[in-house]
Amino acid sequence: MGLLDRQFDNSNIVITSLDSLLNWARLSSLYQLQFGLACCAIEMMAASASNFDMMRFGVIPRATPRQVDVMIVSGTVTLKMATRIKRLYDQMAEPRYVISMGSCSNCGGPYWEHGYHVLKGVDRVIPVDVYVPGCPPRPEALIEGLMKLQEKVRNESLAKKKIA
């Protein structure tokens, strides 16, 4: 039922120590939704394969959104695919994160002006945590993005979010 999730106004000693444990567990096992959209997916596969081995960061591809934490949108998001991506994101369990990989999913990429069928950035349908630039980004760049996401997860808290 989430008895501790966002139930406390300020961070006390229990919440902060629990935070560090939970965040460590979460950032060390960021399971990835197993799907690729375009040429970026080839680089994503290279990052998963033995040379770069994303699995050493705990990134394991899973075939269902119920079991994953991070969705790597790797490639051109067409308008047709955008509704599917939205639905897949909805079906992921919280906490959930999105890495937008490559120019196409960042902003439409080479299709930014005349791509009649391309969504101009995946952040128009789902919230994005980390943008990885490149066309396509090298596997090192994707891993850099992943480590940025890990930094973000490390600083999360169970406490209620302050409204600025």
Partner: protein, 147 residues
């Protein structure tokens, strides 16, 4: 001090605490913000259509039964093959009787026609001189009218 079953009891207790503890911990810690789109059935991102409780053809049941019979037969064949050299002719006749019983059952299923699968017979429209392209039903009607 501990009997063998005592050790098994300790295993069971540790297992129960481990799985139960995991469930309780996640119940305490997980965020719970359900909404209809999140609870919808996963169909690779497609909109789910229809019910998951689809009726299967009853013929799959027969096929599954036959499969299990021959599956078990193979399980019996392996240990039999191991001791075949020592036991000799006796083992051979024993297994022949066993296989014979199964083969009678298989023949029975075959004769009853449970292995025959319904094949589709699509109605193909064809060209009839003086009438045009017609389906089979139309031809039948026309023939009846002609008579």
């Amino acid at each position: 001090m501990l009997t063998d079953f005592g050790r098994i009891l300790i295993f069971l207790l540790i297992g129960a605490v481990f799985t139960g503890g995991g469930l309780v911990a996640s119940w305490l810690l997980r965020p719970r913000r359900p909404y209809p789109d999140k609870l919808s059935t996963y169909e690779c991102g497609e909109e789910p259509i229809g019910e998951p409780w689809v009726k299967f053809n009853i013929r799959f049941y027969v096929v599954a039964l036959i499969f299990i019979v021959f599956d078990v037969e193979v399980v019996f064949l392996f240990p039999w093959a191991l001791v075949f050299k020592e036991m000799g002719m006796f083992a051979f006749i024993e297994m022949a009787v066993f296989l014979g019983i199964l083969i009678v059952g298989y023949a029975y299923v075959w004769v009853k026609g449970d292995l025959d699968w319904d094949k589709p017979s699509p109605k193909v429209s064809r060209y009839v001189k003086g009438i045009g392209v017609v389906s089979d039903e139309t031809v039948d009607v026309n023939e009846q009218v002609a008579v």
